[in-house]
Amino acid sequence: MRKSFIFICLTFASSASFAQRLDHQLDTIEVINLRMERENPQVQKLNKAQITALQPEDVGQLLQRFVGVSLKSYGGLGGMKTISVRGINGNQTGIVVDGFSLQNTQTGQLDLSNIQTESIEKITLSIGGSQGFLNPISALIGGSCLSIETFESNFGMPKYQVRSALKGGSFGQIDSYLALKMNNKRSFFSLMGKYRVANGKYDFEIENGNQMYRGKRLNNDFKEGFGSFSSGFKIGKKSIFRINHQFNQSDKGLPGAVILYNTISNQRLKNVTNQFNVDFTRFDQVLPFRIYASMRNEQLIYIDSTYLNTAGYLDNRYYNTHFVNGFSFRKLPIKRTELDSMLYDVEIVKTRKLKLIYFGGIEQSYSLLNSNLPAILAPERYQLKAVLGTEKNWSRSNFVLQVGEQYFSDKQSISGNTVNRFVFTPNVSFQTEKWRSFIGGLNFWAKRSFRIPTFNELYYNALGNLNLKPEIANQFNIGNLHTFYIHRNQLKFRLDAYYNLVENKIVAIPTKNLFVWSIQNVGKAQVFGVDFQFNHSRIFSKLKLETNVNYSFQKVEDLSDKNSPTYKNQLPYLPQQTLNADFTVVYKSKSGITISGLATSSRYALNENIDANKINGFYVFDASIYHTFKLPRVQSLRLSLNVKNLLNQSYAFVRYFVMPGTNFLISLNYAIH
């Protein structure tokens, strides 16, 4: 608390010296961009203003606002969060921050609670994979792509920019954030630091037969810090060079599931992650290209201080290192004057007119997992990914054809085992702006993507299986996008129907007995789904109203074994129906109020769709209100109050990982634009 206080005081004190003059022209530029842009029906996005209104704890919480996403949240604050997009394994969703992908070869899953939200300028989810020029090749191959753009890693308009926040809330939450950025026409330089703590002790009650089981969530505290340094230079008139380092350290209690009659919990997880990125982008008339490289090092320490072994504790350490470098290009007609504003805007490159565009690239990576556990025999992995595609644009429609390839070769230095696989993936999409007058824009796309087995699946102890094949996902989508302008209302509809078929699904099955399991490609699943989005906005002279409604229906059927009692049952933790909606009123662009709600139908904790495995559906409402105070020059000060779980509902995404009741967060944000 005291540290944070000093932090914010420093920010205020130094503000005067940052006085500067540039008017922010960002808004006007966005308008121009919108006009040039043809909306990509595969992309959903949230901008800075929307993120501010939602006041998310982490990226996981933001993703609830996207249609087609099923979030798995292991508790509130600091709890692990993973996603599944349209019923497909979360490992098929690539995560990209400022054009650099975050990858983990041990489990394949990234904990979304480890990505902080303060710096996010824009977050986009492209279902069916990204087609952006500045995204890495791995993001183009993936089943879908979550792309995040931050404040720190991109060129800005004015000379100095400062952003800071101080937050305090329920369960001992204290959060302080400071980011500084210096810009001139040819370079930028930024620094960011964030520190967050909470004791996480919240009361809960869950159904226990006909009674209520009440308790306090214990061992749910966390402290975590984030830091980043970024810099970029324009070289000549056409090239940009960026370098960036991101750091994250956390120490979290793992409360585990609520276990009836036993509240003892002594597990902790510590994490230190460092990622270094560098890229060079050239916006050439002949062949615009980007060269990128990253090094990511993740250290995980799992501690159980009362484990019943001889030592009396567990201290498992995992070190996952990942090197990647790649080259991507996109031959497209582009005017050089537009470069500045479209830098790192993923969608804009899709929109240019008429001509035939070629794109593609190649990426190689090397990963290594080390551990203090004898069961993990230091697996290494070399990967080579390549993509080649073409895009044809007509005045009202566009056609994209892409082929991808992924090769990996693994080696275990201790056991001497090697594994090699090659996969090939075609993908095609067609969009048209208007088909029949009342139906609006139509789009079709089909994509084949895969996830390669993780180190854990291939090698872990007796469990791993060296014969595993990649898990394949085939996605077929037909979509419709329609915008109406009625009086002063803008109404936007997006409707998608899809069918996904997942083959060679990697599942763990027992072999000889409960102790010996094997991971095999025996799973098969199909998904029938519908995504629906509705957006309404209306601007009055002083008021702006906006409503968003997302509804998603997905039938995710297990087709693994015709003779199994779970044949055609809904897969665990995927709700058939999800509805989320928010309503925002903004007054004079200064004050605003947002009410948002999320409703999820019941889910099953295990494959068998019986009452005993059922997790009740829930609905939960949040609200936030903010006011921006007038300050001289280009400064702004915003005070906001966020109330989560307004109705104090008892709910859980994952069975017995109960979420907090009503809780508050007060934030003070100061910025120099």
Binding site: A257, I259, T310, P510
Partner: protein
Amino acid sequence: MQFTKYILFIILLGVIFSCKKEHEETIESPEILQNGMLVLNEGLFQLNNSSLTWVDFGAGTSNDQFFTQKSGRLLGDTGNEMLRYGNKIYIVVNVSSTIEVLDAITGNSIKQISMQANGNAKQPRSIRFYGSKAFISCFDGFVDVMDTATFQIESRIPVGLNPDQMTISGQYLFVSNSGGLNAPMMDSTVSVIDLNAKSELTKIVVGKNPGSIVTDHQGDIYVISRGNYSTIPSRMKKIDQNNFTVLESYDFDASKITSMNNRLLILNNNKLMLFNADTDELMNDDFINNPAISTLSNMCFRSSSQQIYLFDSKGYTNTGNILKYNVNGDFLTQFHVGLNPNSILIYD
């Protein structure tokens, strides 16, 4: 006009995709337990879904809400064993770290005993009875002595690492110290406890990772040392009841044993083998081998009716079946039960 058409189009699609709801029927639990079977379903770790199923032989129904209907609450997480002693049923709940005591006539809850020591869960694993005392193996390295009248833990007998299964022969309790949580350095001993003195007499080295342990009709002890599930195989050993020494190690895979008259039933790779405990010879390595059983996880022999019950856990993640056979291995009938059945009590 266009807008109206479009809205109608959306609504039409909405109607097509609207779906229906299903519910399972609730069955009531009987007041007095008779002509049926009580089944303890272990459930799965961290899901608090251990349950009791009441199988009504007359009506042919299975009701997995039995415990909740009787006590108003849930059983907890990972029920490892259920035994009847006198007029009480004892259920050992491992992860919740409790012993549940029920009335054996009605199934009503009598007492829930919390098994914790110095702020840590003892993780009880199995229970045996001798006189007025219950002996409870706890994963924290002790066998607890509990008085069956007061339900007080009177003493804790230190044994090996992660004591697991137990069997009584004469005045001795044999405890397999699995050391499972210390993998790959598992324990390899069986502790011998003098039930009158309530203390450990000795430890017998039997082989890595001892688990299933039974006493045959002559009082000799058989234990399975489960090895390390890869290079060291799972083997059955015979222990001399008088000298506490290992008499023999048998050269076949075995994962669980139970005693049947003068025979042993041995579970091996989804099938049941028959072993002659008089001659110490394997009589039939394919005694019961039913392809309809997908995961043969446990078995039980009921001497009063001379029937064998086999537990099919269906991959450990789906609700299971219990199949009834006669002593010749002929299939009689089967019952659908809950998730991971591991103990049964039959009521005539």
